[in-house]
Amino acid sequence: MPDLTKAKEPFRFSTRLHLTELTGLRATNLSQLSGLMEKVPDSCIYHHTHRFLQQHQYLSPEPPNDFAYWVAEILGEDELAEKLASIDTIQYSDIATLRKDFVSVVNDFLKDSPLAKLKFARLGEEFYFMKSMSFILPANFVASDLSEFAQMLKYITFDSLYFHVFESRLRLGKGENDFSNWIENSLGDKALADKISRLDPYTYTLEELRKKLIWIIKERIFG
């Protein structure tokens, strides 16, 4: 085992458990979808761009967001669905900009395809706006060097992994995932931090992401 740098501050894993809040708001066509997308709270946009990641964590690839899924499966607008699915969530560091781009994509499409406004979802198949209420609490895992960190990554829940990689970066507006932050600032290993930052976590299932992170860290430890 190579000598491992002790962290200035240990990494304290948290977990995030969520409850889905219903808003009673629903869209039956694209104009309503775009109108509501502009108005609903940030928590709604976050929910609909991240729900699939957790609910179908064993599937890959999965439809990346609820908007794209509904537009394709219910309205049958494949071209727009593809554009919505292609919005690269990892490039965004705040919800406001992400929301703006989703709205623009729908509005631009409606300008070019006015007939699309006439497509309506059947009763019961409308788009229902929901939001996430997140509860963040400390998990019983604390790592003070990379080896401990890799070991704990094996045992933390998907919720914990999800929190540090997705939610903390985008929803809490930290701009970077917690793992890269800690590795750079507490262990001083910028190269490893950057390598983890460059991963696009949206293209993995959570189990695959866990394995990938462990592999990258072990590669760093053992060379």
Binding site: T15, L17, H18, L19, T20, E21, L22, T23, G24, L25, P41, D42, S43, Q55, H56, Q57, Y58, L123, G124, E126, Y128, M130, K131, S132, M133, S134, F135, I136, L137, A139, N140, Y155, I156, T157, D159, S160, R171, L172
Partner: protein, 403 residues
């Protein structure tokens, strides 16, 4: 009854650890569930499991059942059908009967717990007794297009609660109170869902004189028009023209459902002398229900309306291919052609049945995917976790809460 640690091999240690972490945050708070029946139906079934788990986690929890006579339950059954969008003539006298029994329960039931958790419309008026404690109304019914007269009547009570809970997004109306989405669940260790030895399954088939010489199609549900047992028979009859098969229609009757016997007689009349149709009245015999599901080749749930449709989750958990209507909470459990087949009509149901009976490998794959989907999203451990989060949500207004 199963202990928490027994769920570890099914869901993993970390999920159980999360439950314990949450329970610590609820120490000192007393929870009271109130519903209208101690046995029969999905609500009683969930509470039978959720209450002991919450207690084992150290949360003070009790479960009370309101009292009501036959007249009261006939009225609440009418309410139930009307909320599902059925045509029901609700008279002023019906509302009076409801209010009279509600008042008796208000007078008799102690509702002083920190959090009072009221299930479905029958006990809804108890909220008139609220003091400075927290109240939640849990709606297990599909209220996506309710009879407005009944809905408006109930809404006057609903808005007095702190929060409402619905089982599917399409049930969510616009309300001035917070509302949450919590799907119901099944208990993988209950008599209804635990693994069974082959000898026991064969024994149950023998008891009901069911031979294994033809594929078995089964629908397990109360004898209720909303479960469309006549539609199931019609779909089976269309399949039988091409594929030799047999049909089991099995279910109990809940004590708050006076309509059951009438529907059972209609089903018997429709089945006539077909010896391959087995109509079984199984009052609360969970092991036998489990055995029948496991003995089946395909499970159906051809409901016209559905609060959630837990029998779908039960079948999928057993790795069975399912044909079910695209209503209520069923599409949350079945992704069409991925974890089962959804249908909208008798013809659609019979076509799906034929597909599954003719392609056992395809049927097997759908069942396997379904089992994983249930493991991840519809087991009691997830449900208890969300109930605890719901209790905590009553004390926080923000979307992000640090505990």
């Amino acid at each position: 009854m199963a202990k928490l640690e027994e769920y570890v091999p099914i869901v993993g240690q970390s999920i159980i650890d999360d439950l314990k972490l949450l329970a610590e945050r609820l120490k000192g708070r007393a929870i009271q569930h109130v519903n209208s029946t101690a046995v029969g139906g999905g609500v009683a079934e969930i509470l039978t499991r959720a209450v002991p788990i919450l207690k084992e986690l150290g949360i003070e929890t009790k479960w009370d059942v309101i009292k009501g006579g036959q007249q009261f339950f006939e009225v609440t059954k009418k309410f139930h059908n009307a909320l599902h969008g059925g045509r029901e003539e609700i008279t002023p006298n019906d509302f009076e009967v409801f209010l009279e029994t509600s008042q008796k329960n208000i007078d008799e039931l102690d509702t002083s717990a920190d959090i009072v958790f009221v299930h479905d419309p029958q006990p809804i008026a108890l909220v008139n007794k609220r003091r400075d404690n927290k109240w939640i109304w849990r709606c297990h019914i599909d209220v996506s297009s309710p009879n407005q007269k009944v809905w408006e009547f109930l809404k006057d009570y609903i808005i007095k609660y702190d929060s409402a809970v619905f089982s599917a997004p399409s049930f969510s109306p616009q309300l001035p109170i917070r509302q949450f989405l919590i799907s119901p669940s099944i208990d993988p260790l209950s008599d209804k869902n635990k693994d069974l030895p082959v000898e026991l399954i064969d024994g149950v088939l023998e008891k009901y004189s069911i031979k294994k010489d033809k594929p078995i199609i089964t629908q397990i549900s109360r004898f209720d028009r909303l479960k469309d047992p006549l539609g199931v028979i019609a779909a089976y009859q269309q399949v039988k023209k091409y594929i030799g098969c047999q049909l089991i229609l099995a279910g109990g009757a809940a004590s708050d459902d006076p309509e059951g016997l009438e529907v059972l007689n209609e089903v018997k009349a429709r089945a006539k002398e077909d010896k391959d149709i087995h109509i079984l009245l199984l009052p609360q015999n969970d092991i036998e229900v489990n055995a029948l599901q496991r003995a089946s080749d395909v499970i159906m749930q051809k409901s016209i309306r559905e609060g959630f449709g837990l029998t779908v989750a039960e079948a999928l958990w057993k790795g069975k291919p399912v044909v079910a209507s695209n209503v209520g909470g069923i599409p949350l459990q079945i992704k069409h052609k991925y974890s089962g087949l959804l249908c909208h009509s008798v013809e659609g149901a019979s076509f799906a049945l034929k597909q599954l009976l003719s392609n056992p490998e395809y049927a097997k794959k759908l069942g396997e995917n379904g089992r994983e989907h249930i493991r991840n999203n519809f087991l009691i451990t997830r449900h208890v976790k969300e109930y605890m989060l719901l209790f905590l949500s009553l004390y926080y207004k923000e979307d992000i809460v640090y505990l």
